[in-house]
Symmetry: C2
Subunit: 345 residues, 2 copies
């Protein structure tokens, strides 16, 4: 049973350790914080904390270091989000102002967040399941090759090259275009995908004349699928080299995860948020993703096209207070900008 003061001690340990990067002892605690008690008393509290597995000593008779569990308690109960300084606020707006192409906006967001926190920043693309297809275009490149382009009302465009089984002429292309257009224009991405699948199912072995349509449908299906897949943008990978010493092994798994993307995407998606849309995943909690020495802190953001997350990835020993504050603020700004954007439409 840890006392009230015991938790205060834990908070002090986390704060000091994050700041100094060195195990913290009972003496330095009484020096740096005004507990009204002596070092020996702190030591007793620390013994309790160690029993609860909230802190640990790297070596016998050395200072203590928070465990994963200790950080978890700190984040859940002890940390108060540090609000941004006004300088930081103005920095964000400076970064994020300007024309609001979605890709561009998210790219700038992720850079801002990385700058702000000094960590690797992650921004999830909003899911496009609810977006509506406004336009499907086929462009003939000559021969049997076509470009299929899908545009949604969120302004997102995606394209893919399709190769038909035979050469096509312009009337073929016009026919295909008409068929496709009827099938998906005006549908949501989800419905559109369903209708395409249905159409495909109705023609399990396409007749010779429909072979081209069949091939196109396959490509469109893939593409709509692509809309539903989550994507991630990142920035600040280089900062990992700076905090290299924070990772006992090497930073290889981190860099690998960053390159893989999909791992981080799953991690981001599976974190559970608290009441305010904030979430953290600490150290061993990331074991399924192979990042046991790292932490991720994230915040939900909302746009009418869907909901997603922004976050930062860094060493377990990170400044949770300010990082939580930063991701929340950035998520906030981002939601607002996307909303304005929607209203403008």
């Amino acid at each position: 049973m840890v006392s009230e003061r015991g938790l205060d001690v834990l908070r002090a340990i986390v704060q000091d350790y994050v700041e100094t990067r060195e195990p913290v002892g009972s003496k330095s605690i009484v020096e740096r914080h005004s507990f009204g008690v002596s070092a020996a008393t702190i030591r007793n509290d620390m013994a309790l904390l160690e029993d609860e597995d909230l802190i640990a000593a790297p070596h016998t008779s050395s200072g203590r270091v928070p465990t994963d569990k200790g950080y978890r308690v700190f984040v859940n109960h002890l940390a108060e989000l540090r609000p941004l300084t006004t300088a930081q606020r103005t920095a964000i707006t400076a970064f994020l102002d300007g024309p609001a192409d979605l890709d561009d906006l998210l790219a700038r967001t992720v850079r801002a967040l990385s700058q702000l926190t000094g960590q690797v920043a992650l921004v999830q693309y909003p899911s496009f399941e609810r977006a509506n297809v406004t336009h499907v275009e086929l462009v003939h490149l000559g021969g049997a090759r076509l470009v299929v382009i899908v545009v949604t009302d969120t302004g997102r465009v995606s394209q893919r090259i399709a190769v038909a089984p035979d050469e096509l002429d312009e009337t073929d292309v016009a026919q295909l275009r008409a068929r496709l257009s009827v099938l998906v224009t005006g549908q949501s991405v989800r419905e559109g995908a369903a209708r395409v699948d249905e159409a495909l199912a109705q023609q399990p072995s396409p007749s010779r004349s429909d072979a081209a349509l069949h091939a196109m449908l396959r490509v469109v299906a893939e593409e709509l699928e692509g809309f539903r897949q989550d994507r991630l943008v990142m920035a600040g990978a280089a900062t990992l080299a700076r905090s290299e010493g924070d990772f006992r092994g090497s930073i290889y798994p981190l860099l690998e995860a960053i390159e893989e993307q999909v791992t981080l995407l799953r991690l981001m998606s599976e974190m559970v948020a608290d009441g305010q849309g904030l979430a953290a995943s600490i150290g061993r909690e990331n074991a399924p993703f192979g990042l046991t020495e790292a932490s991720v802190v994230a915040s939900d953001y909302e746009a009418t096209v869907g909901q997603a997350r922004v976050g930062v990835l860094g060493p377990m020993r990170m400044d949770y207070s300010s990082n939580l504050g930063a991701v929340r603020a950035v998520a906030h700004y981002l939601s607002r900008l996307l909303d304005e954007d929607d209203r403008a439409r």
Copy 2:
């Protein structure tokens, strides 16, 4: 004046150092290579090489290590490209086979090259200056917002969101579409950009009714510009963590350059190739780009759409022979695939 054998000694030093990662002494040279002479003789040669600044000793009375200049001589005169093993060749074809969307092809190429060399792989997009615009499409998102899509005969598609000064209806959009189409369809990217600039110049202060056209033209101009800009795809950044000890300082500058892209792009572009389209930039030669402890090895590849480079980035102490062989082989494959692609059209 270094003798013939002196150069052989340099070759031996480079090879052994790359392999063992340790300064190499005269004795180990006579053991590992069958020079018909004694260690003392090798020592004399090494003294000469040191005078010429081709090798250096980390500490007095320690083995020698090649200098930047030593590597340069090795690459220029001493290295013979190591041909790929058949296993490697089959690995490349396995990687690169399949449908040939350009983005996809280059992404797979860069992964293959990274795998092959164990280094960071870099692939420059071919320049699209010679590509022809086959199609310009406007899609109305509602209100004043439009998506502008440009498609070239190389199958590359690029899009951007444009905001007109006023609300638009479908007839406005149709008009704009027609005007734009006349202006750039069928032109090469370069000519198209010129014609758009011309049109813009003719309307320095657009009349009210042409304001929308004006805005569109700006966006199209930017987009065509984007086609001409070089791009880079990369893979294998994580491998840097593996060869961490090879960088005296930290790998921070490397990661930063990788994230910046533009630095590496300039570096790649400014390297001068030898007669076979191969180029290397070693250590201090990269000083203008802040990568004095790294080397880049690259090979030109040719496609009808333009010419560009594939390369690898790694520690100065890399296996130049096999890396040169790898980039040349991959460039070769890539050229061939792109050509087939063109013929198929």
